[in-house]
């Protein structure tokens, strides 16, 4: 019995940094939370669809903002993460989608500032390191499920 059990066991793989390597999971737990977040984001996007004729999503969009607020709350309550590509499109203050920001400029110090309709500013210090990539943007860190 002991021999058979031992033959089936494989040695754990450890890389040179002392990290125990594990294969990616086949299924993702609590997918329904992600479906819910995705649906809310798209509902909000539909409400704030910018069109060249309309100018931008400059109008009063309480419903769209509420959907994003709900999405933000759910992601916090359920501890589900959003990629920076999603978070960068959301104003933290008024929960507006920043597809057509009020102002977009490179400030004197070289930082890219995205000004929302509510006055909140998102600043990205692009001058410090133009090649900067977030952890998820770096090659090999993000896998398709």
């Amino acid at each position: 019995m002991g021999k058979k059990a031992q033959a089936g066991k494989t040695k754990p793989k450890i890389d040179e940094n002392g990290v125990l390597l594990v294969p990616p999971p086949r299924t993702i737990a609590n997918q329904d939370h992600f479906h819910r977040l995705n649906y809310l984001y798209q509902l909000s996007a539909y409400q704030t669809r910018p069109t060249p004729a309309a100018g931008a999503g400059k109008g009063h969009t309480p419903l769209a903002r509420n959907y994003i607020k709900l999405m933000d709350l759910i992601s916090k309550k359920t501890k589900t993460s959003l990629l920076p590509t999603v978070k960068r499109t959301i104003c933290k203050k008024c929960h507006r989608l920043l597809w057509a920001p009020k102002r977009l400029e490179i400030a004197r110090d070289g930082a890219l500032s995205v000004v929302c309709g509510c006055g909140a500013v998102k600043r990205y210090n692009v001058a410090a390191d133009p090649d900067y990539k977030t952890y998820s943007e770096r090659e090999g860190n993000l896998l398709d499920s």
Binding site: Y41, P50, Y135
Partner: protein, 195 residues
């Protein structure tokens, strides 16, 4: 004795690899955001011979023979204001080169789409940025296509570059959830140590 203490230490795992599920943006599909350029070498050669080589001999911005903008703030201002002219504009971007911030590039396609005038977004091939370095820090060039611009150049760009398309803005269609796995590590903490 085989192996040093260091090599023995490496055999004991200190961290464990984990895969964290994260939600991706359903609307950021890079393949669709930037219009396809059919004959990339031809377009790049045309840009070099028709525009960049001529600009290299100019001393100041006032000498430019065309109306063009190379500063990001000027480009944004031009694209977001209605100037009352119907001339189309070309925006050349070095989006494949290192040295151009990704956050900055992510803003450009939608900015062009929202502009009141017709904008042709032209992505340039890799290693095009050094040719732009003297005129634009981030490899951006906006050219207004009025009568002063060579007609052949305009027709070639129009023929070879697709127009901007945002299927998710024009048609309402539910996009499936894009859940990705983020590969990261967590420390292995033994139960004895926790106590």
């Amino acid at each position: 004795m085989s192996g040093s203490l260091k090599s023995l230490d490496k055999k004991i795992a200190k961290r464990r690899q984990v895969y964290k599920p994260v939600l991706d943006n359903p609307f950021t599909n890079e393949a669709h955001l930037w219009p396809h350029v059919h004959d990339q070498p031809l377009i790049w050669q045309l840009v070099q011979s028709s525009i960049l080589n001529k600009l290299a001999h100019m001393q100041s911005k006032e000498d430019y023979p065309w109306e063009l903008y190379t500063d990001f703030n000027d480009i944004v201002q031009y694209l977001s204001s209605d100037r009352g002219n119907s001339d189309p504009v070309y925006l050349f971007v070095c989006n494949k080169d290192p040295g151009v911030p990704l956050v900055l590039l992510q803003q450009i396609p939608l900015l062009c789409y929202m502009a009141p005038m017709a904008v042709k977004l032209v992505q340039l091939p890799r290693s095009a940025l050094p040719a732009f370095k003297t005129i634009s820090k981030y490899g951006l060039l906006l050219l207004r296509c009025d009568d002063r611009v060579d007609r052949k150049f305009v027709s070639q760009v129009d023929k070879n570059v697709d127009s901007l398309q945002f299927p998710w803005l024009s048609a309402v269609k539910y996009q499936p959830t894009a859940v990705k796995l983020l590969k990261t590590t967590v420390p292995i903490v033994s139960k004895n140590k926790q106590k």
